[in-house]
């Protein structure tokens, strides 16, 4: 947007931007700037609180503002207070990933391999936990398994909720990739060369499903680290996760500590989000991209 100051037609040529078709001959209209302003306002709406909370987490005293100086003291204090919750969340996310990989990838394969009414019904059932509010799901788990004290108080109870909630994402992600390729031809090819099922599964099917597995894994880890609705109901004082600790710090600690904790959460989750976007851009639109490129050239 560095060039938007100049005359509109001229600057568009410099900016190398291809405003498609008819509009090309007319200068940018008032509507363009109205849309631009709204888009920038939305960006500010999203960005300002994130930046504010990150800054507040490293400010000596929020009430005096940035002039009171910067410090890592609050981050240190959060680590002292909440390192258990943060580590538990990381552990849970990895465990959740392991379970969804072992359970979800074969399941996705079976669902793609045997299309039919039963498979569709089961897929609907599988995605239900995403449609139902986490709170309701947690309530169901509590009513059913809350009476088993050993299970109720262990992190496995929270892991159960997380697996239930994230499994559909893994299955969807993998089955989307698998149904886009001609599984049957690949498998027949491998079989005709003498490969038995397990060999085919590990050397043909899994490598082909890799983009889906990768995208699903990123999704599962991100969702598990940030899950609150279910976890708040399922946690016990000894099994607090990162978001549970966040809620606790917002409610009972000073603003700087809540902010520093949020900062830690952002630092944990940002690489995952960025990786997800890179992956999505990467996979997406080879065919579509060439189409729009053609349009742009004309």
């Amino acid at each position: 947007m560095g060039v938007s100051g100049g005359g509109t037609n001229h600057c568009r040529a410099i900016g190398g931007d291809f405003d498609m078709t008819v509009k090309n001959t007319t200068p940018r209209s008032r509507g363009f700037y109205a849309q631009l302003v709204l888009t920038l306002l939305l960006c500010l709406f999203i960005l300002v609180p994130i930046v504010m909370s990150m800054l507040a987490g490293v400010t000596v005293n929020v009430f005096q503002g940035l002039k009171s100086g910067l410090t890592l003291r609050w981050v240190g204090e959060v680590w002292m207070l909440y390192s258990d919750s943060i580590l538990l969340s990381v552990w849970l996310a990895l465990a959740c990933l392991a379970v969804t990989l072992v359970v979800g990838v074969p399941l996705a394969y079976v669902l793609v391999r045997c299309p039919g009414r039963l498979s569709r019904l089961f897929e609907e059932l599988l995605t239900l936990p995403v449609a139902i509010p986490g709170l309701a799901l947690a309530l169901a788990l509590l009513i059913t398994y809350g009476g088993f004290p050993g299970y109720r108080t262990s992190p496995l109870f929270i892991l159960t909720g997380h697996v239930l909630f994230t499994l559909p994402f893994m299955v969807r992600s993998v089955s989307a990739i698998l149904s886009a390729i001609d599984l049957r031809a690949l498998e027949e090819g491998a079989a005709s060369l003498g490969a038995r099922f397990w060999r085919r599964f590990f050397t043909v099917i899994l490598p082909n499903a890799r983009p889906g597995i990768l995208a699903g894994s990123l999704m599962v880890v991100t969702l598990s680290i940030g899950e609150f609705n279910l976890t708040w109901m399922l946690h016990t004082p000894l099994t607090k996760t990162l978001p549970v600790g966040l809620a606790d710090s917002y409610a009972s600690m000073r603003l700087e500590i809540g902010s520093a904790y949020t900062l830690i959460f952002f630092v944990l989750i940002m690489p995952l989000l960025i990786a997800m976007q890179v992956l999505a851009n990467w996979q997406k639109p080879d065919p579509r991209k060439t189409v729009t490129d053609d349009k742009d050239m004309s």
Binding site: L42, S53, W232, A251, L273
Partner: protein, 292 residues
């Protein structure tokens, strides 16, 4: 070699007896067993238990309908519905304008803007609540700005406006992604045709662009609505005086130990969000309806 050729030939001619290249039923079943077990043990069974738990309530079977018969719960339901519908409409309007803009125009920083708008997609509700406090709380940026301008602090994080802003915050990423996806599929030639036939701008929008976007708008609107209905973390952090349904369920279960009522309200809420998403999936195709 002959055998291999025969195999390829057979697979092209399905009426011949098939040499199966796929795994047999036993292996397929084995592969699906863990997943089926997870769903049955940790979803179907608990669901059944919840449905049964309702009948233990004070009013017996009538507890199933308590969300409609009890004025307090009915009030909460209406508030939650109104809130979710309002957020959905506002998010759709804003994201339509902005999403169309981002798809149609190329400018420096465009991809950063896109990335930024979808950033909060996986923020938990508690963090979104904290973002509202940062924006409109006692030390929030709006309070500081208004204090500098008028000497008065605007603080609305803890009332219904703050809750609305929070819901909008986590709705925008979902909706804008869907709007951009369907805007990319719009046929520009149709708009040119309308323009060249003399249609003014607003008619192009109303008669050409909006109908083209409609399937995407419906499905993303449904996702937005269902998410807003079930959102708990944001309301929990802001601790507002208005009782959205998830907060009522939480209070009934933990503070009042009223499991039957909490279960009944949960079933009602779950049925509503599920029906909303399922209805849209049958309209807009199977890829809609699953989102964070």
């Amino acid at each position: 070699m002959v055998f291999e050729k025969l195999r390829g030939w057979r697979s092209r001619h399905p009426f011949l007896p098939k040499i199966t290249a796929g795994p047999d039923r036993l292996i397929l079943t084995m592969l699906a067993v863990p997943g089926v077990m997870v769903v049955v043990a940790f979803f179907l069974l608990p669901l059944a238990r919840v449905a049964l738990a309702v009948a233990d309530g004070p009013d017996g079977l009538a507890t199933y309908f308590i969300i409609l018969t009890n004025p307090r719960y009915l009030g909460s339901l209406i508030q939650t519905l109104a809130m979710s519908a309002g957020v959905t409409v506002v998010a759709l309007v804003l994201c339509c304008v902005s999403g169309l803009f981002l798809v149609r125009n190329r400018f420096a920083g465009r991809s950063i803007v896109k990335a930024l708008l979808t950033l909060p997609l996986s923020f938990p509700g508690v963090v979104v609540g904290f973002m509202v406090i940062m924006l409109a709380g006692r030390q929030g940026v709006l309070a500081e700005i208004s204090n500098a301008l008028t000497g008065e602090r605007w603080v609305f994080a803890y009332n219904i406006a703050g809750l609305f802003v929070g819901y909008l915050y986590f709705s925008i990423p979902r909706v804008i992604l869907a709007v951009m996806a369907s805007a990319e599929k719009l046929d520009i030639a149709l708009e040119e045709a309308a323009r060249s036939l003399g249609a003014p701008g607003w008619r192009v929008v109303r008669d050409v662009i909006l109908p083209g976007l409609m399937p995407g708008l419906i499905s993303s609107g449904a996702i937005c609505f269902a998410t807003a209905m079930g959102a708990f973390g944001t309301a929990f952090t802001l601790a507002t005086e208005i009782n959205v349904l998830p907060m009522v369920i939480y209070t009934e279960f933990t503070l009042n130990a009223n499991t039957a009522v909490a279960a009944s309200l949960s079933i009602a809420l779950g049925l509503m969000t599920w029906a909303c998403l399922a209805a849209v999936r049958t309209i807009a195709g199977p890829s809609a309806g699953i989102s964070t």
